[in-house]
Chain length 356, copies 4
């Protein structure tokens, strides 16, 4: 990372960039009111920080010690206050501030009627963003893979319903991108691209999604450490796209015998991520629990621990859903979650500001 | 489990008990206002539920399906409401009700002055119970093992300080029992016996501690599933001791690379345990985090998810502590935790009653 | 799965296929000397096995109970003997028979000289197939990602070297496909496509690679159960490509503290896989160990447990390798591994035939 | 660790010991033909190695870097060759040399007839040591806990049968110690005390068992890293008892879904342990697999990877066993395992000597 002096000229900045590119690395440029910081993308061992530090206009040149660099607090501290996160703006919604953001909708988009009715009802409950799966990742090739997997026409139709429902009820929309060849198509229709847990390690997909420039919701794999989670998110950011929303959704349970939940929600990851990086982080209690009776409790905990929002699978009649019927809650239940967590957020925000 | 009829006579009850004992099993007897329920301890396959069910005075005889039986909701529902937990009473403190209980104190008792000063300060911050380690479980035989490990005289001296500090500041006291031969000695001095995570699977120790009749704080092993955790707690209860307080303190992190916390706090275990058993459950954020800057966030989450209380390592000057210096907070920081979590508890308790 | 009668006509077979397709499912057709078996690809709950079983020419129609179907022993037992595996043929090499197959080469292809010299030396040591990475999956965007990631021209050049080295020393060649857009290009040059551990869950990539019809080496993810591993392999097979070679390469270590190896090799997976499916399975000790001094021991164990072969990273001068320098062995060390494991294989093969 | 000079007098040695004890530490003394090495037991930070190193007769005083010290190769290299392990002698059996040692017998001792018949048949198959459980650790208080748990008289009777069967067929005998209060009683009857996986972390039990001076078979917990496993074994050695045989018996499976085995055998642990410590290590395939059809394959792998022996549950009629019926093999099957692994051991021993 190269911190330029306050009065550094554009020419000096360009010289530094040229020097870096000459060694086969790419650059990330952050411009503040007074100064510019240049981040390196690629193998830093190929370049001499000592040489860079004596170039005209350079105040300081040094390595970022964490395995992820562009997303680290260390790199961003000049522009983002340590207690705050980057605000990702999607339409009128701001993710990363004091107020929690609620993303709701069905596991899979099944019909125009279904997604419109759910959109209306989750909006009424207080949700800000509409989600709905069109390409579904599944453990078995024999399971329903979403309308999108049936062909481009079906994919466009379902994507169109989702977009229209979002517009009708004034919510940005989000869906999952499961494969590289789907990226452009989905990008035409939705506001946020989701990378599911199973694709977290798929670096070529991450790069491609990053290049769309659209906000990306990036879910942690159920077998990934926090370090891996953050390191792979940097594949998106390295494409010049810092609108990444991290999402904790549970890790594999420990030990022998029944854990009574599908996954183990790692809520300690939330404050850790808030200290390690400036990216906002939200929580998905639905996939972690895998059962609707725990959603209220785990949502309260997620907001209390400091999450910037929640993704909750919601359906007016969970039993009739094709996928994830057991874990979806109703819009009425969603309202209680939103009301309670908004109150909790006020308390914890107050104390966090007092403490820091 | 044998549910007796409302008008069953003591003689009929005794006959059922005799029949069970004849097959080499032991019994657990729960008496309500109107009826008696008899639980079986031992191998149920040795006995015929059909035969038991036709004995005079028996209303119903059936197997409890969970691997743990005496602690299951199924067995207790006749006496404890599904939304409530058993109240464990220790002096004037009630663990398991709506109000969270706070257990605080140093990792290790080091001197009379140290434990008295900490007792005074945590009481001032709002703590209800005083903790302090005298026999410390350690991964290395070369580490400090607590004053208790230095001999019986040293153990009695340290236990005496702990008891006296508790009396002076009107708090029951708790310490860990690490080995069977320590049980009686420790039982003379303290109000709650703690079983640490490393000893969770040590069934002979659990039986022995159970037989003291004293309340037991039972910590989950860091590699144990929830099912194992509950199954092993039944070794204590099988000795006729239902005053068991369960404690979640973190499981081993997942994946490769840095997790940034010592353990992964499994907060989803709290609502699961509240649905599976009537035993109260509290959370220890200190050992899970292993770093003091996360204690506030994780405590808020623990109470929000439904824990009946917290155990928090506290010291007036964490840096000078021999063990766990990095994870202890000060009494001043403890006060913020207690104040914030009491407010959160009011919100979540209100909504839980509304929902159920 | 539909087992046709011995004398079933092609018309009857076609009728069954049409009936299945009518419900939106695809089919897998296995023809033996005397009978044909039709497997279903897709959601079996949409179709009535009772109706299928009474169609003309059908002997039996029933569900395969395992989560994977087309690769299960249950489905294949009519054609492949229970003690044997499918033979995957690549050039003159046969993977899946009694004799172990050895795949060797560098982690990354770095130059024409490097890959030619390694090819010559591993051939001399007894290797059958040449491997070399051109697109490298990496945990950090800042690490060397292989020559392929530098552009198509560089990719084609490196792929050309690999192919030429294989031809020169009479070995089929294998390299990893990391992203969907690389599939066709790589397919032009190599004999076996490798799916690395990090991409195991990437179902769209698996389908695409499956459609090339080329043999696929499919590595288990380090966080995946055996069931997940087998279920995801079925995405390749569902494209009509049964030339899948499974590969165990280690799972994440358990517990706190140092495990002294990068991953934990799960050798019990080998006999399990041999009983669950007819696909051959080989072992990669290099990535599991992460240190060269354990390769001999772990290779002996892998062959002893029943693996059909080994993939071993080999370099004439491990220290100068850009990636994985610590775990590569020399061709001389490879020769000892090959000699010892060939002897072990003879013993275990003899006893396995005696026992079964 | 303090290395004394070759000509150091006993008085000088005593002075060093006194100096160490003065700081509250204990000592471990290893005497070779020419020199004496003194190991420290306890908190090394309390003592000055600089001061020790200038005492008369001291050649070198330095810290051992590993978390375990007395069992480390670093500490023992003066007396035990790097390629060899300590030989633990039990009667005429030598554990730790080139020839594998086979320990066999039923999960639980059930009757005099049962253990005598099994003893005779496993001896005939080639076993060296007889095992049989008398106190059984169980996950449920409702399961059969072994004859020993029924009272001291029953324990003595069963222990007497085991000892008598061993004498009759000329095999040392081994049984598990589950609790501290059983140690002395069991020590009266058997030659090797076993610490089961569930008790690995129970440091007070380890110390007590160590103090008997009898050989101890020490099993790794299913959730323990190799570092933890070795660190806890040092609690036994710190009591002056170096006759510790380590035992790998499987760790918890990874991932979601079926792993098809009860535990995951970590065979890579064997060569790691052989490099880290001089203690011999054997493998228990029975508890790892949990199914008899995998015992042959996993036994071959265990010996191939370098284990010094195997513990295999054996019964003339597995189906009638009360505990672990699914994983026991017959004496006839045991013979094939012993014959095959003896042949494998010859091959791997030859190559290991060639390589080192």
């Amino acid at each position: 990372m190269i911190i330029m002096e306050k009065g550094a000229t554009q020419e000096q900045i360009n010289d530094v960039i040229d020097e870096i590119k000459k060694h086969g690395l790419r650059v990330d440029i952050s411009r503040g009111e007074f100064r510019t910081v240049i981040g390196l993308i690629g193998d830093e061992s190929k370049i001499s920080f000592a040489n860079l530090s004596i170039m005209p206009g350079v105040k300081e040149a040094r390595m970022v010690e964490t395995p992820y660099k562009l997303i680290s607090r260390d790199y961003s501290d000049l522009f983002i206050n340590k207690d705050e996160s980057r605000i990702v703006k999607v339409g009128d919604v701001r993710i990363g501030g004091d107020d929690p953001v609620f993303i709701a909708g069905p596991c899979a988009v099944e019909s125009r009627e279904q997604i419109f009715r759910i959109a209306r009802e989750v909006k009424g409950a207080g949700a800000h963003i509409l989600r709905g799966g069109i390409y579904k990742p599944r453990s078995s090739v024999h399971s329903f893979q979403g309308l999108g997997s049936q062909g481009e026409a079906e994919a466009r139709e379902a994507l169109g319903w989702l977009r229209a429902a979002g517009r009708e009820y004034d919510m940005p929309v989000m869906t999952e991108v499961r494969g590289e060849y789907q990226t452009e198509l989905i990008g035409e229709y939705v506001d946020i691209l989701q990378i599911g847990a199973r694709n977290m390690y798929d670096q070529d997909l991450l790069s491609r999604v990053g290049r769309t420039g659209k906000p990306v919701l990036f879910k942690r794999h159920f077998g990934a450490s926090i370090e891996e989670f953050l390191s792979f998110s940097e594949y998106i950011v390295a494409e010049g796209n810092k609108d990444v929303i991290l999402c904790e959704r549970g890790i594999v349970p420990v030990g022998k015998g029944n854990s009574y939940t599908r996954y183990t929600l790692d809520l300690g990851a939330v404050p850790v991520v808030r200290r390690e990086t400036y990216l906002p982080i939200i929580v998905d209690p639905s996939h972690a629990a895998g059962r609707r009776d725990l959603i209220f409790d785990m949502s309260c905990a997620a907001i209390a621990v400091g999450a910037h929002g929640l993704v909750i699978e919601t359906h007016y009649n969970p039993k009739e859903a094709i996928v994830d019927a057991k874990q979806m809650i109703t819009p009425g239940e969603l309202k209680d979650v939103i009301d309670a967590t908004n109150q909790i957020s006020k308390i914890t925000t107050f104390y966090r500001k007092k403490i820091n």
